[in-house]
């Protein structure tokens, strides 16, 4: 050895001192979310479990009273203001197609005798059948419920109403983002840019509020309906532009304003083992030509790595969706980068599984049918998006958007040859007291490789999330 003993005790003391300084500097923090997957799974399983999770484990029991108070609003005022913003209430404008189909329970053997074909999206009509390969998610029984009025929280409704008409579009329909002031920019889409206005409402969506934590359980199924994947991921989400529900309002901070930051998302994988300890941090931007920033702590390397922000067209983790499919449609609306021609090709009511109030939905473990889903007549826009770049993974997308909530409920994506590639169904939990929608059931199906991915979520408002929760520190803290 070639020792240099004098320096070592000093360095050791220095290191220990710094460690002790850290240990002593413990700011008091309110717990962000007081629940674990273990607890959640005790309350609700994915298979054969019709427990109304949002009744058995209500949000107010999971967050602190202070947090709960901050995310709840006068439901009556919210609904009235939102009806004012969009100009209607859904129950008033549906019921005109196949009126003989009334609320009640129906079996698949009745679908020929009643005009369900006329009232349902073709894919849902085909799936109104006993469970059978190659995909999960059929319905042998459906429960039709009366159409409800849905609404967004009072601050969102107010902002949408007050800012209506302020968001400007250029000659091709693309918005000038500096004119967007918050809320839904086009609560009453109209004119020749109606289709793209609807899509901008989705891009500026308030699902998952300003700050949320989502607990997701995902399952993959092969063409024989055998489960071949099971994952657990916790997702933190924070909106940075147009914040209306949690302080700070508007832009999250100066940095967000200066850099045009749209959202921050982090996710922490807890299963399966191969993914356990992976932590992803994603920063998205308002500018349509600016790539997201991806950082990932990779369990197998024990390192935080920078990943390409433009890697958005490959399937995510063996699932039946690409990054651009997240939330049904996650692609930037851009005049230059994979631009679309946007068209409204339909505007009518459909009988569709759209929302749940109690989270009682489940999957039959034997047949892999969806069970306990409520079908509801919803007024929808049917949009056709035709891709202009032949190198994009999809050549066309058909998107079904709820006219009252601007939530995407169903999408079809076709490859460049016109083959149906993927379909996505989204079923949201609606919280009347919050005026908020959280993803509850997500089904993505690959029609070329014959595979299905199902994700069940439980969402909790988390207004005390900060930039820390999306930072290098989070990667270090959560990483394996």
């Amino acid at each position: 050895m070639n020792p240099n003993p004098k320096i070592k005790p000093r360095l050791l003391i220095l290191c220990l001192s710094i460690l002790l300084c850290f240990a002593g500097n413990v700011p008091a923090e309110e717990p962000k979310v007081n629940i674990s997957f273990a607890e959640l799974m005790q309350h609700k399983q994915v298979y054969d479990d019709t427990t109304p999770i949002y009744e058995k484990l209500p949000v107010k029991d999971v967050v602190t009273p202070k947090v709960y108070a901050s995310v709840t609003f006068d439901a009556t005022a919210s609904s009235e203001k939102w009806a004012q913003a969009v100009g209607f209430k859904a129950p008033d404008i549906v019921g005109k197609i196949a009126p003989q189909i009334k609320p009640g329970e129906y079996s698949y053997d009745q679908k020929e005798s009643l005009p369900f074909k006329e009232l349902m999206i073709p894919d849902h009509y085909a799936r109104f059948a006993p469970g059978a390969p190659p995909h999960i998610g059929n319905f042998s029984k459906i429960k039709v419920v009366p159409t409800r009025q849905y609404y967004w929280a009072l601050p969102i409704a107010k902002a949408s109403l007050e800012n209506s008409g302020k968001t400007q579009q250029d000659g091709k329909g693309y918005i000038k983002d500096e004119t967007y002031k918050g809320g839904y920019p086009f609560p009453k889409p109209s004119g020749k840019f109606k289709a793209i206005q609807v899509m901008y409402n989705w891009e500026k969506r308030y699902t998952q509020a300003d700050n949320y934590t989502l607990y997701t359980q995902s399952k993959g199924f092969d063409k024989n309906l055998n489960e071949d994947f099971s994952g657990l991921v916790t997702v933190n989400y924070m909106r940075l532009q147009g914040r209306l529900l949690s302080e700070p309002f508007g832009w999250y901070d100066d940095r967000a304003r200066e850099r045009g930051e749209l959202t921050s998302t982090s996710s922490f994988s807890e299963a399966p083992r191969d993914l356990y300890g992976n932590v992803l941090s994603l920063q998205s931007y308002v500018a349509p030509d600016q790539d997201n920033m991806f950082l990932m702590y990779i369990n197998g390397l024990r390192r935080a790595r920078k990943l390409s922000g433009s890697d958005t067209q490959d399937p995510m983790g063996g699932q039946d969706l690409i990054y651009e499919d997240a939330d049904g449609f996650n692609q930037k609306i851009s005049p230059d980068r994979y631009p679309y021609i946007y068209e409204v090709v339909g505007e009518r009511e459909f009988l569709i599984p759209a929302y749940t109030l109690d989270g009682a939905t489940t999957i039959d473990s034997k047949t892999k049918e969806f069970a306990n889903f409520e079908f509801e007549r919803r007024p929808l826009y049917v949009l056709k998006l035709t891709q202009q770049d032949e190198n994009f993974v999809y050549g066309q997308r058909t998107i079904y958007v709820d006219k009252e909530t601007f939530i995407i409920l169903y999408t079809e994506a076709y490859d460049q040859k016109g083959n149906l590639y993927r379909t996505i169904n989204q079923n949201f939990a609606f919280f009347p007291e919050q005026g908020m929608f959280i993803m509850n059931d997500f089904l993505a199906r690959d029609h070329l490789d014959l595979h299905s991915t199902y994700i069940k979520s439980y969402g909790v408002p988390a207004p005390n999330l900060t930039r820390d929760d999306f930072s290098l520190k989070e990667l270090a803290k959560r990483g394996k």
Partner: protein, 548 residues
């Protein structure tokens, strides 16, 4: 030995028990006293089969049958405290399978069982064991852990903290079996930054109290030490002449002139008629000094500053510690022992001495998007540029100048640059991109002693004044990631040698996985780089059952 085999049976029974648990709804997310515990693991059985035929340094046919049982768990006593531990047991069944195989015994592979049949050291069975406490702006992790620095893959430039386990070579290398966690304290501090450009900033400090000095486990010379992965290197004094009758026996050809003349020594005519036989490097009787437990000589310190500026991640790294590999040299004035194995191979066994030298490293890394290379026709993905460089101050080398071997210190610079690029090749895969990751490496030794000298880096790697190498990794996936083919090649430009590994991994589901591949070695310059593994070409396969 019998006791160990019983231990294997016991562990196998435990593994099978875990397997049964896994198939009967074994809970993997547990609620313990209102706090969550995750439990995972896997068992795997691998096998390798030689493509090189019967050689003195490997076996014809089956060469290894490695079994691994691995379990890991975390537990959150509080939101801010995480406990994590993992344990593994590894055994190579080949020793039992070839227990009475004459070739195996004659080549003395059976004698390597102490090193490779069972991984029964505590630090091999307890893999990671640490606590992570996050408080305020700090994250502190203490325990047996892995701290990985740097941006490059495969070739470690800045990543010098943890030792490696290289005993079982290059086939189907996995993280848990190749990186050795050691006892460390890591503290990270992330001050709040109010800046539009510096998006994130953190300081990381590492302290290794030398609770137990665990160096890199190298592939070792001699079949009785390194088993099937022993490097095939010519002996220093090869070739030898085996002189019959009583007398000197095996004598290096170069030393024949030093034998006494007849009648004391053998007649020259006899010597001229005897065959010259190649000898190989055998076990090195090494006296390597290492620090005792808690000995301040073994303390290590690391400091890392990491920041995110715009869309680019930078780190500055400093490390003051011990190399995980020793510098060694032959003990002056002591000739190696020479013997003939039962299979006829002559082995030369030198007496070596050495130590684990001090490392004084200062490095930096960078990773950023290259948006200008984003091409829609290739899938529209910007490649990530990764750069890493480290300057070593007074790095130790072994200098060999003729018969004289000495330890010397030189400053050196190691750097690498790489790309991670996902590109679409619809003809080969219409649904998934190909990940293409080329890397280039360069090492420069300042003040290189001249062309007559041979310089060996710690671990015995031959080093020129400038050393160039590169690697290429290509991979993709089909059928929702169920089938993942990949190809890796590492080219040593300086020594004109390469190593390649094509592999296919098939995941039946997220429990059952099967992999098959091959490792191929080639070198144009004898006794250098991958030429040492020229007889190690093999195919391998592995079946893994994971409980999630």
């Amino acid at each position: 030995m019998k006791g160990k085999r019983m231990l294997v049976n016991l562990v196998t029974a435990v593994a099978l028990g875990l397997f049964v648990f896994a198939n009967t709804g074994f809970a993997k997310v547990l609620d313990l006293g209102g706090n969550q515990m995750n439990l995972f693991g896997y068992i795997s059985q691998g096998a390798s089969y030689s493509l090189a035929g019967d050689k003195p340094d490997n076996e014809e046919g089956l060469n290894s049958a490695i079994f691994t049982a691995f379990i890991e768990a975390d537990y959150y006593p509080t939101d801010d405290l995480k406990l994590f531990g993992s344990a593994k047991f590894t055994s190579d069944w080949i020793y039992a399978l070839k227990d009475s195989d004459t070739s195996w015994i004659d080549k003395e592979f059976d004698r390597s069982s102490d090193n490779q049949e069972f991984d029964d050291e505590y630090w091999q069975m307890i893999n990671e064991l640490h606590a992570t406490w996050s408080t305020g702006n700090a994250v502190i992790r203490v325990g047996k852990q892995v701290v990985a620095w740097g941006e490059m893959d495969g070739n470690r430039i800045m990543d010098q903290i943890n030792p490696l386990d290289q005993r079982r070579g290059f086939a189907d290398v996995e993280f848990e079996s190749s990186i050795i966690p050691i006892w460390l304290a890591k503290a990270e501090y992330y001050p709040e930054i109010d800046s539009e450009n510096i998006l994130d900033f953190g300081i990381e400090m590492i302290f290794n109290p030398n609770a137990d000095f665990i160096p890199t486990q190298q592939t070792q010379f001699g079949n009785e030490e390194g088993s099937i992965w022993t490097p095939n290197m010519d002996a220093v004094f090869s070739p030898y002449v085996d002189i019959p009758g009583p007398g000197p026996g095996l004598v290096p050809e170069m030393a024949l002139g030093m034998l006494p003349p007849p009648p004391m020594g053998p007649p020259p005519a006899l010597l001229a008629g005897l065959p010259r036989e190649k000898a190989v490097m055998g076990k090195q009787w090494a006296d390597i000094s290492e620090p005792d437990e808690w000995d301040p000589d073994g303390f290590e310190y690391g400091l890392r500053i990491k920041t995110l500026i715009g869309n680019t991640m930078f780190t500055v790294n400093a490390f003051y510690g011990l190399d995980n590999l020793p510098v060694t040299k032959a003990v002056a004035g002591v000739l190696p022992t020479v013997r003939r194995r039962a299979d006829g191979t002559i082995v030369e066994e030198p007496l070596m001495e050495g130590y684990y030298p001090r490392q004084r490293l200062l490095g930096l890394t960078m990773a950023t998007d290259l948006e200008s290379l984003r091409l829609s026709a290739l899938g529209g993905v910007s490649p990530i540029l990764r750069v890493e460089a480290v300057y070593g101050y007074h790095s130790a080398y072994t200098k060999i100048l003729g018969p004289v071997q000495t330890f010397e210190e030189y400053n050196d610079l190691k750097w690498g640059v790489g790309l991670d690029w996902k590109v679409k090749i619809p003809v080969l895969n219409s649904k998934n991109s190909f990940t293409v990751s080329p890397q280039f490496f360069h090492t420069h030794v300042f003040g290189f002693p001249g062309s007559d000298a041979i310089l060996l880096a710690p671990g015995g790697t031959g080093t020129e004044e400038d050393n160039f190498s590169g690697s290429l990794m290509i991979g993709t996936q089909y059928l929702h990631g169920k089938i993942m083919p990949s190809f890796f090649i590492l080219q040593d430009f300086t020594n004109k040698a390469y190593f390649m590994r094509p592999q296919i991994v098939y995941s039946y589901d997220d429990n059952i996985q099967f992999s098959v591949g091959a490792v191929i070695f080639s070198g144009q310059e004898d006794n250098k780089s991958f030429d040492l593994f020229d007889n190690k070409d093999q195919v391998f396969c592995k079946l893994t059952y994971k409980f999630n």
